[in-house]
Amino acid sequence: MAEFFAMGGHGFYIWSSYGVTFLFLAIEVFLLMRKKKTMMQRLARIARMNKK
Amino acid sequence: MLAMIRWVLWRELTVAMRTKSEVLTTLFFFVIVITLFPLGVGPETETLELIGPGILWVAALLASMLSLTRMFSEDYQDGTLEQMLVASQPLVIIVASKIFAHWMVSGLPLVIISPLLSLQLGLDMESTLILMLTLLIGTPILSLIGAVGAGLTLGVRGGGVLLSLLVLPLYIPVLIFGAGAVEAVRAGLEVEAHLSLLGAFLVLAMVLAPWGTAASLRISLD
């Protein structure tokens, strides 16, 4: 297992590229989902205000 | 049509002559940026000679960009630009004359003063002449490309910084071939290829940029 992660001495380079890639992709998805949620909440708030 | 071009040129140039600040600011900026480099990297003649063409060209890019924001902003504020949009003359012609006037005010002075700075950086006579020639062909391209950016950022907050972000990447080919020609002379190589490519860029920019600028002004004033 440790040998797999060491990647013959290149582990640092490989895992920092892969890590950054998947971290950023995950952040992009997370941010978009949060944005969608806040927008829906805002729309609902406006709708409630209009009702009153 | 000719009357229109003459009117635009005359108007732009008289405004520039009356205020004078635009020409002088650009010019002094150019000189000061170049003066900073020997102070930054040291006064060794060999180093300066090596990086001289690049410094001169980068300074020219920045200087010509500095005055871009003012290309349309005054006409935009006093409403002249709206009038130009609905004028009977095609907007492309008006825009092209304005770009030409901008070059005469901000590009041409750089070409004229460049030999002084070039000799100061230790370039020889032949390199200096080629530098002047590349600046003469290259600075109009900068005004032409810059005009599209100036039109797009018209009336946008933080327009000046944004403009540099949009325009500088597009200046790269001019920088490469402009500075490359001077370096080629220093290395004793042929410069014709560089000059003809710069000329080709100029023709291409002259054909496309006025249309792009006119379109960008229409979008900005919509």
Partner: protein, 253 residues
């Protein structure tokens, strides 16, 4: 029949009709992306052999090359959408162009980042002023310019048009910039490391790379659909159907 299909597509190209469609399609594409990614990485790490020249470091290629492809490809697709939006004034195409830009910039950045970490063990430095690397850096600048212009203009319609024009100027310039940088690089060859293509690739390496490219492609489509939904909500917030959505949310919450 032809009329009917045409009407169907026209109908679908309105933001209102596209919003729910994008909502159902986006998770499908995301699932596909995850599945392809797992397969691609399994082949890449457990099936593909160690390269006799580069050792294990070549495995960065499985994200580097697909990310680079996507960075360029998304720019072209974005320009195509922007042009369509500019000429025919179709709202949805402009929205798609805006939705693609951040993802394209992200892939360009990933290509640069992974390229740097591949370069260190292979050439000994993180960065060389190689033609391809430099061009990619400039591509990233073009993306950033596009997004900044769009963010700086308050009027959404105007922002879409202005950035579309900028994208067009960029696409005319890309070949010129690439050619100049390449030429500049050959002139200065003595100073930089020559980057040669990988020699012969084992089939499993090629497979892994292509599957990863598909995974990134599916991810790009999925994320663009997700983002276009938020853009639709933002730009159409005064439309009745968007306010109905808000009403439903108000009744639930």
């Amino acid at each position: 029949m032809q009329m009917l299909t045409k009407a169907f597509w026209l109908q679908l190209s309105t933001p209102k009709a596209f919003y729910p469609v994008a909502g159902t399609l986006a998770p499908c594409f995301m699932m596909l992306a995850v599945i392809l990614c797992v397969i691609g990485l399994y082949i890449g790490f457990f099936v593909a052999p160690v390269d006799y020249q580069q050792g294990n470091s070549y495995r960065i290629m499985f994200i580097h090359v697909p990310a680079a492809w996507m960075g360029m490809f998304i720019y072209l697709v974005m320009c195509a959408y922007a042009t369509i939006g500019l000429i025919w004034n179709t709202r949805l195409s402009s929205m798609m162009a805006s939705a693609l830009a951040p993802t394209g910039a992200l892939f360009t950045f990933i290509a640069l980042w992974s390229g740097a970490f591949w370069g260190k063990p292979t050439w000994g430095t993180y960065w060389v002023w190689d033609a391809r690397l430099t061009s990619f850096l400039i591509l990233l600048f073009l993306y950033i310019g596009y997004m900044s212009l769009q963010a700086a203009i308050d009027d959404q319609q105007k922002a879409a048009k202005a950035s579309a024009l900028l994208a067009l100027v960029g696409v005319v310039n890309i070949p010129i910039i690439y050619f100049s940088v390449k030429w500049w690089n050959t002139l200065h060859q003595g100073m930089s490391v020559t980057v040669t293509d990988a020699p012969t690739m084992a089939p499993s390496m090629a497979w892994s790379m292509f599957i990863m490219a598909f995974a990134f492609w599916m991810y790009a489509i999925g994320i663009a659909l997700m983002r276009v939904r938020t853009i639709i909500l933002e730009r159409e917030r005064h439309a009745a159907w968007v306010q109905d959505l808000g009403n439903k949310g108000a009744n639930h919450g």
